[in-house]
């Protein structure tokens, strides 16, 4: 490769820090970074999962049968922690249902099926043709717009972290922070979408970064990039020198080593400090955004476009035209393969991976669609590839070689974690720092016994989470049960008190009664005596009367 050397000047520096461990896998980036960015037109139907970000699912605001235009809001997340979802193309809502979209569990997810009516030729015509075919936000002049307005726009446009984490961006930007770090490391093999974006759209990325910095009230923008992307660095340097933007910009160039793009590793590289384990980057006055995310912010503010498509690297040895494509969300992997791949692929040995080879997800169901987190699609024939792990790869026992310890960027002891995961010793796992594992996969990459280490950690993490949920549930049930017991006891007590009171009342009453009989008897006796007396008196009176 005849790469031009990186020119270091007063905007560009090598990173001062380094992080523990890391790996240097073969890059395979030249497969896809040689061609210009292209556009993939939407297929006849799009299947949009209603939840494409971290956070709660939002409210679906369209009905089956609705005619919709490109950019129209489909899922409103204004009141929840998630992000809005918009229509990637104009068409008709055909169905809203649970569809199996290739989630690892094989479980269905609620999705909106859209049949597109292809207006692609009118797309740039706007309202001049009379019919509105695309929804756009009102354009903002970001230099004069207040940060709140910009933030609201980011939220409206449904922008999430496009590096793969899909954390809603407006939540990250809602604080006032000093520093914006634009993450252009792209450290995983095969992926080149950030690289290509910087080479071709550096001006837009820089503008997006400026807007983001304005939103944050930041004083400094740092572009962090690996030294294997010299063209992207050059293009960025040119843009920074010519652009007279308000916020100061710098480029930090890091040596190529996976996972330099990890949030914690990035901070260690740039600032030579470790982020405290229970803190967010915001605690250190910085926020990290992916290149694609700041570009999406640029589009939302400067072009008024909501996030409905993204740049996806389509690569692998089965792709006839590998490169980077703008692909609307909801496009199925099947469609992409049909459009871009060699036809005579042996389906049995083909492996399709969404995301990078180290942190991505296996596509077991070709119905799987491109969503906000899909930065890369690798379609490979693995018949002759020894470097790939498949389901049939057998693993051997751990020989405790500690190669995993050497490469772990979180400075954990992966083999101990594996050991405790296998024996389900959750307490020990927590003490060993399982939750500090970033699942980068470096350990499994170097493991000579090919143990699926990350799978074990994920199993352990979700088991611990499940156990915690069950514990919470049983704690709640216990306290409710105890409260009920107490309530019943109290009621019993109250009833007893009531009975006692009633009994006392009765006793009082019966005391009167028990006094009464004697008095009554007396009274009766008295009365009887009186009656007798009267009778006697009368008879006495009568008798003389008769005599008279």
């Amino acid at each position: 490769m005849n790469k031009s050397p990186i020119r270091f000047d007063n905007t560009t520096w090598p990173v001062p820090g380094k992080f523990h461990g890391g790996i240097k896998p073969e890059e395979y980036k030249s497969i896809s970074n040689q061609t210009e960015i292209q556009k993939l037109n939407p297929p006849e139907s799009l299947l949009i999962p209603i939840r494409q970000s971290i956070g709660n699912p939002g409210k679906i605001v369209v009905k089956v049968g609705d005619e919709i235009i490109q950019g129209q809001l489909l899922v409103d997340n204004t009141d929840t922690s998630g992000a809005n979802v918009h229509a990637p193309a104009s068409g008709i809502v055909k169905q809203i249902s649970s569809v199996k979209l290739g989630h690892l569990s094989g479980l269905p997810e609620t999705s909106i099926l859209i049949h597109c009516n292809n207006h692609s030729e009118q797309k740039n015509g706007d309202s001049s043709s009379g019919t509105v075919t695309e929804f756009r936000f009102e354009l903002l002049d970001w230099l004069s717009a207040p940060p709140e307005v910009l933030l609201a726009r980011v939220q409206q446009a449904g922008i999430v972290g496009l590096g793969g984490a899909t954390f809603p961006t407006h939540i990250k930007l809602s604080k006032k922070l000093d520093q914006l770090i634009v993450n252009a490391m792209e450290c995983e093999p095969y992926i080149t979408c950030d690289d290509r974006m910087l080479r071709e759209l550096a001006a837009q990325v820089v503008a997006g970064a400026q807007i983001t910095a304005k939103t944050l009230n930041a004083e400094l923008i740092i572009f962090a990039i690996e030294d294997n992307k010299s063209e992207a660095i050059a293009s960025l340097q040119k843009e920074i020198l010519t652009n007279n933007a308000p916020t100061k910009m710098q480029i930090y160039v890091a040596p190529t080593k996976y996972p330099s793009g990890g949030e914690k590793q990035l901070i260690e590289l740039i600032h030579n400090i470790q982020l405290p384990h229970n803190k967010l980057p915001a605690s250190q006055g910085m926020v990290i955004q992916n290149v694609a995310t700041v570009h999406a912010i640029f589009k939302a503010v400067q072009q008024g476009k909501p996030l409905t498509s993204r740049l996806v690297t389509v690569t692998g040895n089965q792709v006839s035209r590998p490169g980077n494509y703008w692909i609307p969300f909801g496009t199925s992997v099947e469609f992409i393969i049909k459009k871009l791949c060699i036809n005579n692929t042996d389906e049995n040995s083909r492996s399709v991976i969404m995301g990078g080879p180290l942190m991505g997800q296996k596509v077991s169901n070709l119905k799987m669609v491109i969503t906000k987190k899909s930065n890369c699609l690798i379609i490979n024939d693995n018949k002759n590839e020894k470097n790939w792990l498949t389901e049939s790869t057998s693993h051997q026992q751990c020989i405790r070689c500690s190669e995993c310890e050497k490469v772990c960027p979180a400075q954990l002891l992966p083999q101990q974690l594996y050991w405790f995961s296998q024996s389900e010793q959750w307490d020990k796992l927590q003490a060993q720092g399982l939750k500090d594992c970033i699942e980068c996969g470096a350990c499994a990459y170097v493991c000579p016994s090919k143990i699926p280490l990350v799978h074990y950690y994920r199993f352990a993490k979700s088991s611990i989470q499940q156990k915690q949920l069950n514990q919470n549930k049983s704690d709640k049930a216990k306290s409710r049960f105890e409260f009920r017991e107490m309530r019943i006891a109290r009621q019993k007590q109250e009833r007893k008190m009531k009975h006692q009171k009633a009994a006392e009342n009765r006793k009082m009453a019966s005391k009167d009664l028990s006094d009464d009989p004697a008095g009554k008897q007396n009274a009766i006796n008295e009365a009887l005596a009186r009656v007798k007396q009267k009778k006697n008196h009368l008879s006495n009176q009568n008798a003389p009367g008769k005599e008279e």
């Binding site: 569990s105 057998s394 199993f459 088991s463 049930a477 216990k478």
Partner: protein, 192 residues
Amino acid sequence: MLDFAIATLTLVTFAFACGALLGYSSIKYRVEGNPVIDQINELLPQTQCGQCGYPGCKPYAEAIANGEKINRCPPGGEAGIKAIATLLNVDVISLDENCGEENQLASVVVIREDECIGCTKCIQACPVDAIAGAAKLMHTVIESECTGCDLCIPPCPVDCIDIKQVELQVDNWSWPLPMGKSDHNIPVKIVS
């Protein structure tokens, strides 16, 4: 003779001192209640279903502390038995079938509300107050509080209470144990 007296006196004094210390510490560091019962109770699932034959989890925990078998809790299942066995350092035994079967998936109950006659019998049966309603008025189950103990079902005079399995969703799905392709793996029961 004097030596003997001194020795005796020393020993007696020492004995008294020790006794006093023991007596003091037994009062000062007295353990309230029986912590074992609480520890066992922590491990029970708190469904309060009574399948063990005791009127709730706490009573069963007390019974276990007094020597009752640890395998009478179907909702706790094998994992629960294992946890209690570890705590008490006894052997793991399989679940007593007379008490019931272990359900892998959690369940809750729902009242078919249009059939409910408002008799309040289920409200009285519910051990965790998860049913809301009043006499002659429709009742409903607060799903998030229901433990799935099914104690409300027998008293219902019109059989309007159904058991509903809590469906597995993307949210509550958890990663399974990797299926060992390795030959060395210790055989474990795969829960499907």
